[in-house]
């Protein structure tokens, strides 16, 4: 009888340790997607973009997902910018990652967006990350929340998990950050209009962008008129 209780206690200890280990290992953000990769390779990717590729103006935004100003800009200003400038064919808007080192989960969030983007849901995931931005204030490991946001974005989670675990886009994100360094990005969000840095005295509004875009379009040389067909 006593031997049975010893076996029972042993089994209980093994199962308790196993359960604890599974919970602990499943709860942390994968290191491969959280930190900077040891090497960087250019995979030719230059960011997800919105708007017509023929638009006369291209704006590149360097953003950090954990940055509250980026979130505020995305939630408050971008809907109007999309309506007035992107959907009207005036602007082609490109998003580049610039995870700041002061933000613990910024790179991880950028990676989650890239993994969602691999399934065609980058913009939905970006919306989720910015609309539910309280994750950036808690300091808690957001890996579980990001999975829920990914699911809400229409992402298939098995492939998402594999992508995050492998850190598949860590090099792409670091490449984007180094590109930002070369472009002299000094904070987020930072904007470039046709490659030229835009300097605003405060967080720009949709009206500010409308003004600079209209001004840029007005300054463009007139398109050559098509020559009339001769018969």
């Amino acid at each position: 009888m006593n031997r049975f209780y010893v076996v029972l206690a042993g089994v209980a200890v093994v199962l308790a340790v196993g359960t604890f280990t599974m919970l602990k290992s499943g709860g942390s953000a994968p290191a491969a997607a959280t930190g900077a990769p040891p090497t960087v390779v250019d995979d030719g990717f230059r960011g997800y973009s919105q708007g017509s590729g023929d638009a006369p103006v291209e704006i590149t935004e360097y953003l950090d997902f954990e940055c509250p100003v980026c979130a505020s800009f995305a939630v408050i200003q971008m809907p109007t910018i999309k309506e007035q400038l992107i959907n009207t064919g005036k602007v082609h808007w490109r998003y580049r990652d610039f995870p700041l080192p002061i933000h613990r989960y910024s790179r991880f969030a950028a990676h989650a967006a890239q993994c969602a983007g691999a399934q065609g849901h980058y913009f939905e995931m970006q919306d989720q990350l910015f609309l539910n931005h309280q994750w950036a204030q808690t300091g808690k490991d957001p890996s579980k929340l990001f999975r829920e946001l990914a699911k809400a974005s229409g992402v298939e989670l098995t492939a998402y998990d594999q992508c995050m675990e492998a850190g598949r886009y860590a090099q792409r994100i670091e490449f984007s950050r180094q590109e930002g360094d070369q472009m002299l990005v000094d904070g987020t969000p930072t904007f470039y209009l046709n490659g030229k840095k835009l300097n605003f005295r405060r967080l720009p509004t949709s009206d500010d962008f409308k003004a600079v875009v209209d001004s840029a379009i007005a300054a463009l040389p007139p398109k050559p008129r098509p020559s009339p067909n001769r018969h």
Partner: protein, 155 residues
Amino acid sequence: MRSRQAIALLALVGFFIAVYLWLHALGYGGPLKCGTGECETVQSSPQAVQLGIPVAFYGVVGYLALFVVALIGLRPAALADRKWSLLLAGISTVGVVFTGYLTYLELFVIHAICRWCVGSALVITAIWIVSLLSLRSPALRTDRGASRPLPDRPA
């Protein structure tokens, strides 16, 4: 006695499976360790919550009850008492019926199979079978003479 020992061990295994799923439902840990990935589909479905409580919690309570009853039934004074076997069979029958309902939901409503749920279903089915077999086996002999020391042989 062997059947109650087996039930105690099986209930312990089922208890930790249920605890793992329950803690996951409460938000502890990350994604479930589940090879196929369908566990998440099952666990995040509306059917994973019954009467406002995560289904896994019913498993925690059920397995804990089986474990405690089996241990009580293993006390020397209770070994011959058939009511503990009946209680184990009753609880495990409820568990098997509930598990059958959940398996139906997985197969025909959620259309996904959770590996951990299958594990739990196998455990409760094994407990149920052992508990039924223990009801069929004859009761332990309890006549006191059997446990008395043998009298010294007359010289």
